[in-house]
């Protein structure tokens, strides 16, 4: 194990959750990007190397053999071995497990196949927007950004409409589990599992596992054209293609992974359009900009601010030598503002070309499974807003999530108006 350099050029702190209450501390990241090599960052249970430049995040993302997702944890803190095992899902595996699990779900999410959900996304989006317009103002997160992604993924999984409310509720408790406090007791939903063995330490995870199992059972007996059916069929074909624990955790990941993230992108997107009316006018004048505007919303919002890897052997990155078994953290929020790659990175430009943002990761095997679904949701929202000539105005400052992980917006009051 190597130790912190003795003459650390700066003593960075980008992990205090409270720093994020005013937004991402971009100045601290700029300082780290300008520092040669990697920057050592102290952390409660052992420090990590901070990777802040676009080029270095890219190199690291693409070398999954050296930078492992299966060791330690993909979040900043280590999990005990039994907890890591119980909670392990696609996101915390390396190949060959990763390749096997990913292939089971990959098909439904390819750029080509995701298009088949366009009408579903459009119907849900139109309904939410029309209700919002009718009210004239309200919290954009609660009215549009939160319900849109969860309704879409539940439809894809095949969750019956009458159960959607229950799963939305569970998902909201999980969001809470990523913060500091939980409002539900450990034995909520009949949970008897130790919380540290559950994703997000949340009893809601137990309920979600149970629901997933019940639904899997139903689909095993009565297959439908949905994602849960394709998962249980993969399980049935050959006992060891998908274990019970893998199914549970994959169902959980699919329900959860796209929610807080897409909600964050949509919320920051709406705020950016309200704050830059000239940019929204460009989109209204030329809807062919919606595709580049979507990429810019993704770059601008950096919904997932970092992911962690652990080295499997000694390796050099950006001139710094790392030992085996060290924590290394890729800061996408920093890479997305790196002026070595982006001209004028702090300008919100809906026409930005060659927008190589890392909001879905830096391009390795863990590249976001839902990237084209999330893109579809943003594209359809912009299209439906443009069609209605909607203009958003802010009624106040957003309430931000105290999190160094998800760039979350808890609420933001906005007025909405259709202008001819």
């Amino acid at each position: 194990m190597s130790t912190a350099p003795t003459e650390a050029p700066l003593s960075p702190n980008v992990t205090d959750a409270s720093l994020y209450l005013d937004g991402i501390p971009y100045d601290r990241f700029a300082e780290m990007r300008a520092t040669p090599g990697l920057v050592w960052h102290d952390y409660h249970d052992g420090g990590f190397w901070a990777v802040t430049r676009h080029a270095d995040v890219r190199t690291m993302s693409r070398d999954a053999e050296v930078f492992s997702s299966a060791v330690g944890h993909t979040n900043l803190w280590d999990l005990e071995a039994d907890a890591l095992e119980a909670r392990r899902s696609l996101i915390d595996t390396d190949s060959p497990d990763h390749t096997r699990l990913r292939r089971l779900v990959a098909r439904a999410f390819t750029p080509k196949n995701i298009r088949r959900w366009e009408d579903t996304v459009r119907v849900i989006t139109a309904e939410l927007l029309d209700e919002f317009v009718e009210k004239g103002q309200g919290d954009f997160v609660a009215e549009v950004a939160a319900p849109l992604p969860i309704r879409v993924i539940l439809t894809m999984l095949g969750v019956p409409v009458e159960d959607a409310g229950y799963l939305v509720e569970l998902s909201n408790f999980l969001v809470e589990g990523t913060g500091e406090t939980q409002s539900i007791p450990p034995d909520a939903f009949g949970n008897t599992t130790e919380l540290r063995l559950l994703p997000f330490n949340s009893p809601a995870s137990h309920a979600l596992f149970e629901y997933g199992e019940k639904m899997g059972e139903m689909r095993r007996n009565d297959p439908q054209d949905d994602l849960v059916t394709s998962l249980v069929q993969a399980e049935a074909e050959d006992g060891d293609r998908l274990s019970g624990s893998e199914y549970r955790n994959l169902f959980h990941l699919l329900v959860f992974a796209g929610n807080e993230t897409t909600r964050t992108a949509l919320s920051h997107g709406a705020m950016a359009l309200a704050d830059h009316p000239d940019q929204w006018q460009r989109v209204l004048d030329d809807p062919s900009l919606i595709e580049s505007a979507t990429e810019e919303v993704l770059r601008w919002s950096s919904p997932v601010m970092h992911m962690r890897r652990t080295t499997t052997k000694e390796v050099e990155l950006a001139g710094t030598t790392l030992g085996a078994g060290e924590k290394v953290v890729m800061w996408y929020s920093s890479a997305n503002r790196d002026d070595a790659v982006f001209d004028d990175p702090f300008a919100f430009d809906v026409g930005r070309q060659d927008n190589a943002h890392f909001s879905f990761g830096g391009g390795g095997p863990h590249l976001c499974l839902g990237a084209y679904l999330a893109r579809l949701e943003i594209i359809v929202l912009l299209e439906e807003m443009a069609k209605r000539k909607l203009h958003l105005t802010r009624l106040g400052e957003p309430v931000r999530a105290p999190s160094n992980f998800v760039h979350g917006v808890l609420s933001v009051d906005m007025a909405v108006e259709a202008r001819a």
């Binding site: 693409r62 190949s95 990763h98 390749t99 990913r102 292939r103 990959a106 098909r107 999410f109 390819t110 750029p111 080509k112 196949n113 391009g363 390795g364 095997p365 863990h366 590249l367």
Partner: protein
């Protein structure tokens, strides 16, 4: 200049990036979801470079020769 590409079926994760970028050259197999080269596998060098770069499984490469 034209170059020839190949897919390593072991490391393909079935993301479909290649199929999106070069639909004449790559097709995901209906059964396995794994990418396959159709036709000659020849691409202009710059487009080959792009599709190689975009593959999350690092499964596409130039063939020898």
């Amino acid at each position: 200049m034209m170059v020839r590409i190949q897919v390593n079926q072991e490391s393909c994760i079935g993301s479909g990036q290649c199929e999106m970028l070069e639909e004449e050259t790559f097709v995901l197999d209906d059964d396995t979801g794994i990418s396959q080269v159709v036709g000659t596998g020849l691409l202009p060098a710059d487009r080959a470079e792009k599709v190689i770069d975009m593959c999350p499984g690092r499964a596409i490469s130039l063939t020898e020769t």
